[in-house]
């Protein structure tokens, strides 16, 4: 075994261990801030895997977009909504976790079987290596032009929509009639999904007298 392939194996093993441990940490750790940082680790090790797969451009995109943007966004969101909440205990939670764990293990076994038994069309053509960036550009401007352009509409809309939803101000009066507006007024009798019943009844009691 050459030094190059040994190094590759070691890198792959290290990256996969980081990946799996990080992913488990993301879903299992009680503190959400740790989870968010571990998620960054997962993103980084996925980028490392892309480097092993000769895809430097996608690895760079992964680091820039996922670590640089998505992960930072998630951290900001955690800071903004990070109120200490005493989560009400749910009966049978542990049982549910074990059951869903079994379901996911079954799903994993199924995927494993499919991955290992399928005869993929190996070996494929020689990988491009560093010319991949060039080829991606050609794809984006030839056969994937339509999704590329549509993705720009998607990004524009999600940007505008996110701003509209996240900013605080709402118009106070109807532009046409000048009457004050109230979004709850259009359809009254709306019992919120998130409030539990006891809180709702108490709030109703406060209003009635």
């Amino acid at each position: 075994m050459s030094i190059a392939s040994t190094a590759q194996f070691i890198c792959f093993a290290a990256l996969s261990i980081t990946l799996v441990v990080g992913a488990l940490g993301v879903v299992l750790l009680p503190n959400i801030v740790y989870s968010a940082f571990l998620l960054g680790g997962v993103f980084l090790s996925v980028a490392g895997l892309y480097l092993l797969l000769n895809a430097s451009f996608v690895a760079a995109a992964q680091v820039l977009v996922y670590v640089g943007a998505v992960n930072v966004l998630i951290l900001f969101a955690i800071m903004l909504v990070n109120k200490k909440e005493n989560l009400a205990a749910i009966p049978g939670l542990a049982l549910r976790r074990v059951l869903s764990g079994a379901v996911c293990a079954g799903l994993f076994a199924l995927l494993l079987r499919v991955d290992l038994t399928t005869s993929w069309a190996l070996p494929g053509p020689e990988p491009l290596g560093d010319e991949a960036t060039l080829r991606i550009g050609e794809h984006l401007f030839s056969d994937y032009l339509l999704p590329f352009e549509l993705a720009s509409v998607l990004l524009l809309m999600s940007m505008i929509g996110a701003i509209v939803l996240a900013r605080r101000d709402v118009l106070v009066s109807d532009v046409i009639t000048g009457e004050p507006v109230d979004q709850g007024l259009i359809e009254k009798e709306r019992i919120p999904l998130l409030l539990d019943r006891s809180a709702l009844e108490s709030s109703l009691l406060e209003k009635t007298p």
Binding site: A4, Q8, F9, S16, V20, A23, L24, V26, V27, S35, L39, V42, V46, L49, L53, A55, V58, V65, Y66, V70, L73, F76, A77, V81, K83, E85, L87, R96, S100, V103, C104, F108, L111, D115, L116, W120, L122, P123, G124, P125, E126, P127, L128, R135, I136, H139, L140, Y144, A151, L154, L155, S158, G161, A162, L165, A166, P192, L193, L194, L195
Partner: protein, 109 residues
């Protein structure tokens, strides 16, 4: 000095890793009580898919690398989805002051 890729690490190794990441994401999706963590679990699932795509692209489609283009699109959409998701979460948090998923009753009639 050339990094000889094929034959050394089998394709299946990447696929198994992707499946593991995907299933971890699914478990987190079902069990997380914090809405932010649910979003993180979805990101895990998408990353699993991306590893799949990249592995196929490198091993089976080395010349045309459509999988890499697909992965870039997935990354782009995931970013958009995360932004929208967190905006909705913020707007909800202002109204309800909670991110506890258990206050949804997902299986209501």
């Amino acid at each position: 000095m050339s990094l000889e890729l094929p034959t050394t690490i089998p394709l299946q190794a990447y696929l198994v890793l992707a499946a593991l990441l995907f299933c971890t994401g699914v478990w987190g999706l079902i069990n997380s009580r914090n809405a932010v963590r649910v979003l993180m679990s979805i990101e895990l699932m998408l990353n699993g898919v991306n590893i799949n795509l990249m592995a196929f692209s490198s091993y089976l489609d080395g010349q045309l690398i459509r999988g890499q283009v697909f992965a870039i699109f997935v990354i782009c959409v995931a970013a958009a989805e995360a932004a929208v998701g967190l905006a909705i979460l913020l707007s909800l948090y202002r109204n309800r002051e909670t991110v506890d998923m258990e206050r949804f009753n997902l299986l209501r009639w």
